[in-house]
């Protein structure tokens, strides 16, 4: 069966840790890191990467436009 798998890449140094992407994700994939970036912001990252479907919700609400989204159809066994 074909399953959709996705992934996001956050431009960590440009993320402001606003958290707006977190509730926008229907799969609860994203969390803010305990670590901070060069500007002191707790940047967003994929906490549960297996669950990402590449729906783009997080990216389109990100005020700083720092999320790139990838999607593939994956064959599962």
């Amino acid at each position: 069966m074909a399953k959709v798998r996705g992934a996001i890449v956050v431009d960590v140094e440009k993320c402001k840790g606003c958290g707006v992407c977190v509730p926008a994700c229907p799969q609860d994939v994203i969390q803010l890191a305990k670590e901070v970036n060069g500007k002191g912001y707790h940047y967003a990252y994929m906490h549960v990467p297996e669950e990402c479907t590449g729906c783009t919700n997080c990216a389109i609400v990100c005020p700083d436009g720092v999320i790139t989204v990838y999607r593939v159809k994956a064959e599962t066994v």
Partner: protein, 260 residues
């Protein structure tokens, strides 16, 4: 074998990336501020319509005063409130261009009220993008004409008292009454659904402005986390609960012949 992340993150699998019509400069806005999302939507539509060389934007005074640093198109920056006067001149001199103003509520609905109303009334053929966050964000959170009843701001620390300060100005409903406006809508950008609808409205505004039948006015009810003294996620929730009942989202005026 389960697929690994590195097999997914490949250029050919990109389904969303930041539009190249936003420059690489980090946005000057506070974390979570809607200004960034609204800039991006406008630039995505300009990219999709392939009108980068035909579009001229006017930046306001307010937090978005530096919009010309972030949008990779021709732009000018107007004196406080006067963006629509400048847009009028530019559009009349260069009628084949897509012209828009980008203005906050202090800029558009306080100091620029006269310019706004008269540009709408004259039916100028450009777009106004109006970012209503109910406050003067840039200067430290003073009360704006759009500040909600009871809402605190630095110049009304006990909340807006409508007996003394009047009621919030619904300038969008007001300009919709004028014959010169062709398309008037109110949107938001705080959730994925809102963003998708808002982007359609931005697209409509650019498409309609080809008709030369009047002014297209797109309001975005937006947040000002710093001025409201909340974090971004709280501010978006507060906006839903408090701003939307007073400033309901949706189309206010659509062209007669168009189904939107």
């Amino acid at each position: 074998m389960a697929m690994e992340i590195k097999d997914i993150i490949k250029p050919e699998n990109i389904v969303y990336r930041r539009t190249p019509l936003l420059t690489d400069k980090p946005l000057s806005y506070c974390p979570g501020c809607g200004h960034g999302t609204i800039h991006r939507l406008i630039m995505e539509v300009v990219e999709e319509m392939n009108i980068q060389d035909k579009t001229i934007g006017i930046a306001p005074v307010g937090c978005s005063v530096l919009a010309y640093e972030f949008m990779d198109i021709d732009m000018q920056q107007a004196a406080h409130g006067r963006a629509t006067a400048l847009a009028t001149a530019i559009k009349r001199l260069l009628p084949d261009r897509f012209v828009f103003t980008y203005q906050g509520d202090g800029d558009l609905a306080a100091i620029g009220t006269a310019e706004t109303i008269h540009a709408c009334n004259r039916g100028e053929n450009f777009i106004i993008f109006f970012v209503n966050n109910g406050i003067y964000g840039m200067t430290g959170g003073q009360m704006a004409p759009t500040t909600l009843p009871g809402m605190k701001a630095s110049t009304c620390p006990f909340g807006r008292d409508t007996k003394i300060m009047g009621n919030p100005l619904k300038i969008t409903e007001l300009v919709a009454q004028l014959q010169g406006t062709y398309y008037v809508t109110r949107q938001a950008v705080h959730t994925p659904n809102a963003v998708r609808k808002a982007k359609k409205a931005v697209r409509n505004a650019f498409e309609y402005s080809k008709h030369n039948k009047g002014l297209c006015f797109v309001e975005f009810v937006s947040n000002c986390n710093s001025g409201w003294k909340m974090n971004a996620v709280q501010a978006n929730k507060w906006m839903e609960e408090n701003m939307f009942p007073y400033y309901p989202l949706g189309d206010i005026k659509v062209p007669q012949s168009e189904k939107v």
